[in-house]
Symmetry: D2
Subunit: 355 residues, 4 copies
Amino acid sequence: MSNERIPVGILGATGMVGQEFVSFLRDHPWFDLTWLGASDRSAGKPYHEATVWRLGGETPAYVRDIVVSESKPAHGTKHALKLVFSAMDASVATEIEQAFASAGHIIVSNSRNHRMDPDVPLLVPEINADHLKLIDVQQKQRGWKGQIVTNPNCSTVVLVMALAALKPFGIKRVIVTTMQAISGAGYPGVASMDINANVVPFIGGEEEKMQQETQKILGDFTGAAIEPLAAKVSAHCNRVPVVDGHTITVSVELEKKPSESEVLAAWRAWRGEPQRKGLPSAPPCPVIYVHEKDRPQPRRDVERENGMAVFVGRLRKCPVLDYKFVALGHNTVRGAAGAAVLNAEVMKAEGYLDR
Amino acid sequence: MSNERIPVGILGATGMVGQEFVSFLRDHPWFDLTWLGASDRSAGKPYHEATVWRLGGETPAYVRDIVVSESKPAHGTKHALKLVFSAMDASVATEIEQAFASAGHIIVSNSRNHRMDPDVPLLVPEINADHLKLIDVQQKQRGWKGQIVTNPNCSTVVLVMALAALKPFGIKRVIVTTMQAISGAGYPGVASMDINANVVPFIGGEEEKMQQETQKILGDFTGAAIEPLAAKVSAHCNRVPVVDGHTITVSVELEKKPSESEVLAAWRAWRGEPQRKGLPSAPPCPVIYVHEKDRPQPRRDVERENGMAVFVGRLRKCPVLDYKFVALGHNTVRGAAGAAVLNAEVMKAEGYLDR
Amino acid sequence: MSNERIPVGILGATGMVGQEFVSFLRDHPWFDLTWLGASDRSAGKPYHEATVWRLGGETPAYVRDIVVSESKPAHGTKHALKLVFSAMDASVATEIEQAFASAGHIIVSNSRNHRMDPDVPLLVPEINADHLKLIDVQQKQRGWKGQIVTNPNCSTVVLVMALAALKPFGIKRVIVTTMQAISGAGYPGVASMDINANVVPFIGGEEEKMQQETQKILGDFTGAAIEPLAAKVSAHCNRVPVVDGHTITVSVELEKKPSESEVLAAWRAWRGEPQRKGLPSAPPCPVIYVHEKDRPQPRRDVERENGMAVFVGRLRKCPVLDYKFVALGHNTVRGAAGAAVLNAEVMKAEGYLDR
Amino acid sequence: MSNERIPVGILGATGMVGQEFVSFLRDHPWFDLTWLGASDRSAGKPYHEATVWRLGGETPAYVRDIVVSESKPAHGTKHALKLVFSAMDASVATEIEQAFASAGHIIVSNSRNHRMDPDVPLLVPEINADHLKLIDVQQKQRGWKGQIVTNPNCSTVVLVMALAALKPFGIKRVIVTTMQAISGAGYPGVASMDINANVVPFIGGEEEKMQQETQKILGDFTGAAIEPLAAKVSAHCNRVPVVDGHTITVSVELEKKPSESEVLAAWRAWRGEPQRKGLPSAPPCPVIYVHEKDRPQPRRDVERENGMAVFVGRLRKCPVLDYKFVALGHNTVRGAAGAAVLNAEVMKAEGYLDR
């Protein structure tokens, strides 16, 4: 790998997810954030003027004065920009992402629009780095020099990280209930009148995403396509008054009926490409079992490991399926900006950025 | 039924659950609250001095000046008191409740201590009013003139109310995740440092209670005992920052594979003894289906129907079991004080208070 | 007063404040809600279809099927509608309210637009029912047959209700800090990402309103205009994560240096026209002193007295001014819908609806 | 200053404040935490067994296996321990702190017990590092070889940091209202039933502390004692549902009537001994003015500058006194553990640890 730093951009840079990318990329050892794309309304303004900074503290100094560009590939290319992270709203992402990919850019997207396209990798690099091989299919079918790679929905990633180590035991059926943080809905997102001291037992489209994305992510690359995991997955999605961190309860049926200690050992031993390659954003242990009886908890555990690990706890027998447990992940880090950056890192490590 | 008003008492009257009984019994058409029992520390003081009132507003005027008694049967009897509600903490309830029952009192208890005793009814009168026949067994076995009748745990009652109408379809397996309000833990209960903007994915003993109590409540009285429902039940219990109202997500497998409209019709048609007898605290419809896609919600629905109905919503197919849905109930009303008072009402209506 | 029921309407009926009017007017002994005005987008639809009901429970049955009208006087008149409550957003209220008043309607408005107009009463009927005499000036100056009467901002009303009884002591200087509920900002209002586990120490325009409105409300009608109270008022306005109820801390300087017991006695004795006339929405005591050392509190006190009283507590010496205390009022009831309805009641009682 | 690391201990190490000391001292460049004192119940156990870790993540590895000692000087001395931080509860701090000081230890205490003693420095080292000279008086009067130095209450520190730069303008009168975080009350501290979606307008003893401590801290050392600042201070203290960070609103009267830009310049220029000496825990700017109109906010600003700066904003004219503004500080860092550690650092820098 060359030591040259790689210029990168963000599409949708002024929104909440865009701000999370800006935060996460600060001091990145490989990527230099040099281009910020947003709507025409923001284009032409310095980033700190185009943006109401919603995260903690102030607009980071390193992007403060970057002038925001229009979301058009031409603007990107003049910076010799190859890698572009997409933080765009689903309502506009489809066409813009395709235009960039068609113009030769590598789009690493957090948007949901292309996740379920058969020729687009839905990547969790600890789990399915080999799904990147779909890019050959994608480029051939679409006639693109560029690429689109996606990361999953913020609640899906918590589930699949917790399940991946159990795949060798034969995952047959999964029932999951989520208690999702408000930051998952962006800004202004959830009205305080809806969620203050309340639970909202519905998040539009979320259950379908969790069910389908889980099967694709845990599926196998057959050489030409992804064969989804045959497991049945049922999701109940809820919003709760928590700032960051999606907590989920999971009941799972496993074909090989492992013992509790075998399940714990599987989690403990589980590593993926990011760990083997020592990628900059990779958590040393992607899944961490928390032994305290009332953990993991979003407010106390979500910031650990820079928000990049998933925490599991309370493994016990399930009277209906085989096991039940709790899992927690940082929805705006491991479930959004951090996920996309780790995707780009594994792509760099495997040469996909050099094609 | 005679029109004479019935004097009643409360054991554990100064605690949080005791205060909920005091609130719920105000203006009761049948029961006159005349006796308040508490610890020796409180005995001898007027109720408003013995109590820091934790509910809304002020200590209700009708009990303000009642002098608190020691928790001993003798104190009760001098008021010719037969019916005593127990709001006692589990740490002391076993012996005191037994002493009162042994002395001839009818104890209608919200405490968990005797719920799973084979000869004690665990009553949800819409569901299993016939379990009251256990009292004959209880009195005979224990040699008591009095009785102990219990109501379920505050999260169990939400589940069983939602399931009862489905019993004719053959309930085989149930997976339930709770999002429980802080009021379920009493006072001081949950520390704000634990639950502010947080989820605590553990409540001691709660999952076991939900699993066992559900089977007993939905079970059948065989003439001498309760044959528990054979269904398998698995519970995941969580605390969330909500004041009142336990929200649960449920996946259920049903032997007879009813259609969605049959399930909806079953809930709509479902009534029990309290409704048939028009008991004062009975909600006209014990289970109400809410059609809005993001309801029921604790803050918006929990106070409806005086907190005595259970609200269900979001019925849809479950990819793993047969159906999934959301349910909500008021944990300190339908799950505690209101439950016990409705128990006493059905006991009155069926003559158990006159024995 | 005739016993005939009075048909009334609501402008801005589908919004959050409109819904609060709908709630508050249910079962009103004098007023029949027969007309609901809203934007063109809603006009022509039954209310329950035009509205996403944001308050507790369901859209009240009594208005469910009323067809929403356009916000034009002509639509009102065909119902022979004289009295119209305005719950309109400030961005549109000026012209529509004036059009209605000009067409002969009596507009009792919760909007801020006309509050500070010199010829418009800013009414808190316990305090300044005599300011209604401004209507003669208003009708003459504007050439209207109709009228506009307003109620104050939701935080102002808590302050002036607490101060009014102290006016005879000579109010010289007031410093007030508010901790305001999220419901004061309507729907969607405050983003949960802004207020969850947070304080926002700014509410646009609120401090100016509290300072000016307080002087006008506590001012004197001179025969032709309102002479504002000469007191200096300084407000610090903050949003806190509370659903309903604005809590304020007040330091006040009083010319006559009353004793603490004189202040308490003044609050205790204080009554206004609504109490003397026994108006249907009038609280028996408009200001209630709460003796517990840590009260009033929004979640525990705001619903008392149907939300129409203001609660004060913690009266003590202020080392800088003379006294300090806490006050609390229900911002969407006494601070909005309830305030306007009480205004209409006093106007009815004094014959203003019959002109 | 020698480069030798200094062994330090914590009294009350297992409590919430003790845990904050443990967190704050991790990786401290001067101090080595080698001794942990707690109640007899904890003594003899490894720290991680004696403690339920309430902060984020896990018990820090560097103290996990330190065996907890009894809170007796003898135990301390065998480690040649001179500097001991006190995180003890006020109910036990007086005697134990005195015993340690009497035995020659330097007690840097967060407890309130000795703060107002005339011969004990109440230190905010940016403001009154010269008050350390009181130690001579203290040692002489009490016959101690050791010392006791204290830091202020967690809400006082926010006020005095904001006021100190204004002292040259002649502070005459101050009215302050606090909105204090739940972490200020320790663990279990505030019951969630008291504070969830609520405001509690009372914190026992807090207003008196803010009023008196402010005068002492901003006072002048006369050679033998502290002459308190003559300013009048009035505090209204409230608890709000925020995790960390006390927000205060302040109105202040200033003798010299500075312009707004003079006030801003005073804050901007203000530095103290910790900044001049470059102490390890000193924030580069102790007071930071935030220009956004709705800031500072606890959730968005409290973690900045490692929690050691105080943030001010919204400076504007006060119609009653001269200016009003908002201030925010981290109550468990700048208001507790961080404050004490910074005290110890300035004491080290000025030679007080070597006496």
